[in-house]
């Protein structure tokens, strides 16, 4: 519980720049080659950048690989296999990359994969440069935390939920860690940690978090 000595949660924000490369893939073999060789932040970007784009409905797939494989290669079975990867099951992006490689290799080994896309429909491997900035928002208790959640830019949510967890190789997201470690509410932290952020838009995720934190606010008096 909040004992008055809680170290504040500092909200960070980020801006993601996309760096384009001249590496493309026109078939699965080239996609596999790219996945093997591109920097880890490229893998991270293609698994997550969809969250920073505005969607009217949950997109069919939230990672670029599945989207391209389904839309351009017409290989829905493979798209589904890739979409079932939960990045939070992996401690780091390198492990995630290995899982992707395994799925692609197995699919190709099964002889299911074939076909090349037309010029103009290639997969473009990009990478990202993330600029992290401290905002002036901070919270020392659950009420302040919830109020900050209402105010922060969605990019801040993206940073704390996805960027911090995978890139910094933490087993939990920043929010859950602070709530358990500083606020001392392991049950809430556990519930937050078990949320499935890959199934929400950032806006919906914000709403869910606000609701969840709000339901525990009275216990943090």
């Amino acid at each position: 519980m909040n004992n008055g000595g809680v170290s504040p949660f500092l909200f960070w924000d980020c801006v993601q720049l996309i760096e384009i490369t001249d590496r493309t893939a026109a078939d699965l073999s080239e996609l596999l080659g790219g996945v093997r060789e591109v920097p880890t932040n490229s893998i991270f970007l293609h698994m997550h950048q969809s969250f920073l784009k505005y969607h009217f409905f949950p997109p069919e797939y939230t990672n670029d690989f599945s989207e391209w494989v389904s839309l351009q290669l017409g290989d829905d079975a493979l798209a589904e296999k890739i979409s079932e990867i939960d990045p939070f099951d992996y401690v780091n992006i390198e492990d995630l990359r290995q899982r992707l490689i395994k799925i692609l290799e197995e699919h190709m080994h099964d002889g299911i994969a074939h076909g090349r896309v037309r010029p103009g429909e290639e997969f473009h491997f990009n990478q990202s440069v993330t600029i992290e900035m401290l905002t002036d928002l901070r919270a020392t208790n659950l009420r302040e935390f919830r109020e900050c959640l209402e105010k922060i830019p969605l990019t801040s949510l993206y940073y704390h939920i996805f960027e911090a967890r995978l890139r910094l190789e933490k087993k939990t997201d920043d929010f859950s860690y602070w709530i358990e470690d500083s606020v001392g509410m392991p049950e809430l932290a556990e519930k937050m940690n078990r949320m499935d952020p890959y199934m929400y838009s950032l806006e919906d995720l914000r709403e869910e978090l606000i609701k969840l934190v709000g339901s525990y606010e009275s216990r943090d008096a």
Partner: protein, 411 residues
């Protein structure tokens, strides 16, 4: 720099994009600590680049960035050479005589002697001033390429590349334009200014006044394509699609384009379009003079469906403008149109006359669905293609170039 001073402040965009977006811009700008930023291009008026710089420089001032805009000078031979460069980079076959290289380099040398290039961040726009990099004294230099160089004519690109390679970074509008370069290539799609004359909200009376001048009434659904009369925009394909639709549903087709005085093919294409339209009174072909922004705005706001049936396209800002007016847009599945239209959500991507006609009929017969798509269309532009996102990317690039090789930069 430009006489058409942009009088809006960054705060004017708060009601459109939200406080968070403006706060983020201010946070980023603060990290640049009043940096001196210089933009250099080749024209003060007309064209997309001048349009962007016209709003960007005052916005940067508003964010307490010490920004300036310089325009290089050149005589006719220089601009003939750079026009050839421009065409060659967009794929036209080319030759590069030594004389052209000499003219190009000499002019940039003269410009370098006259311009104050001393800045923390220098943005050089397009090929015309690219070799100014030879005269760098300090700062990070960024080459901003606004044109489609996905399949450049090799000799011109090889010549220019030797200068581009010396920059700290480059910026392209589409992933397809990426080249093999030793410097970072950032993706920054174009944007529109929601408060500009072409995009600002218009009162009903203003719209009515503009339509009256054009003698257009909204008694039947209006299909609209706004673009210059150019074969790549396929205006004749649009007429063919309209004729297919007309068999099922009465409607008006408006094809509105500029006079295109600098395009030698323009008058011939316009004549072909007129021939195809023949005597159909429901096809309105408008050859609009410059400064018709309010009129275009009124047309886009009145149209039921906006079409951009291009067969080749750079980015397609008329698509962005149409989406921003809350209209579903039917666009050719090419270039930047693919980045803007989410098929079946804020419009449709099409590949043929038949496909265009089919999608028009679908939207005309389902006005509620069309209205919903229009709502999504506007939101998509709000989040992705407004000038605030464009400024954010530029500020972020300035920070990124101060931290070369770093993929996570804490500021």
């Amino acid at each position: 720099m430009n006489p058409e001073t942009h009088e809006r402040s960054i705060a004017d965009y708060k009601p459109i994009v939200g406080e968070n977006v403006i706060d983020q811009l201010q946070r980023l700008a603060k990290k640049l600590n009043g940096a001196r930023v210089l933009h250099v291009n080749s024209t003060a008026k007309g064209g997309g680049v001048a349009e962007i710089l016209n709003w960007m420089i005052p916005m940067l001032h508003d964010l307490e960035i010490n920004a300036e805009w310089h325009v290089i000078k050149g005589d006719q031979p220089f601009f003939n050479v750079t026009k050839n460069f421009h065409n060659a980079l967009q794929g036209k076959e080319c030759l590069l005589p030594a004389e052209d290289e000499r003219i190009y380099l000499e002019h940039n040398e003269k410009n370098a002697a006259e311009l104050d290039l001393d800045a923390d961040h220098v943005f050089i726009h397009d090929p015309q001033p690219a070799s100014l990099i030879e005269h760098r004294t300090r700062g990070t230099w960024i080459w901003r390429c606004h044109i489609d160089i996905s399949q450049p004519c090799q000799s011109v690109w090889d010549f220019l590349k030797q200068y581009v390679n010396k920059y700290n970074a480059s910026i392209f509008s589409m992933p397809e334009f990426a080249q093999s370069l030793p410097i970072p290539q950032y993706l920054v799609p174009p944007s529109i200014d929601p408060l500009s004359e072409k995009n600002r909200e218009l009162a009903e009376e203003e719209i009515a006044k503009e339509l009256e001048k054009l003698e257009i009434t909204h008694e039947k659904p209006i299909l609209l394509q706004v673009s210059r009369f150019d074969r790549f925009k396929d205006p004749i394909g649009v007429i063919k699609a309209y004729k297919l639709v007309k068999k099922h549903k009465d409607c008006i087709l408006v094809l509105a384009g500029g006079e295109a005085t600098d395009d030698p093919e323009g008058p011939a294409v316009l004549q072909e379009v007129r021939n195809h339209a023949a005597e159909d009174p429901d096809i309105r072909i408008l050859s609009l003079p410059p400064l018709s922004d309010t009129r275009i705005n009124a047309l886009q706001r009145t149209a039921d469906i906006i079409i951009q049936k291009s067969v080749k396209e750079g980015f397609g800002l008329t698509v962005t403008e149409g989406l921003w007016k809350g209209k579903p847009v039917i666009g050719g599945e090419v270039g930047g149109i693919k980045m803007q239209i989410q098929n079946g959500i804020n419009g449709y991507l099409v590949n043929s006359v038949e496909g265009t006609a089919y999608r028009i009929r679908q939207l005309l017969h389902n006005p509620q669905m069309a209205a919903k798509m229009g709502t999504y269309a506007r939101e998509y532009v709000r989040h992705n293609f407004l000038l605030t996102r464009h400024i954010r990317d530029h500020l972020a690039i300035m920070i990124a170039t101060q931290h070369p090789q770093e993929t996570y930069i804490q500021v």
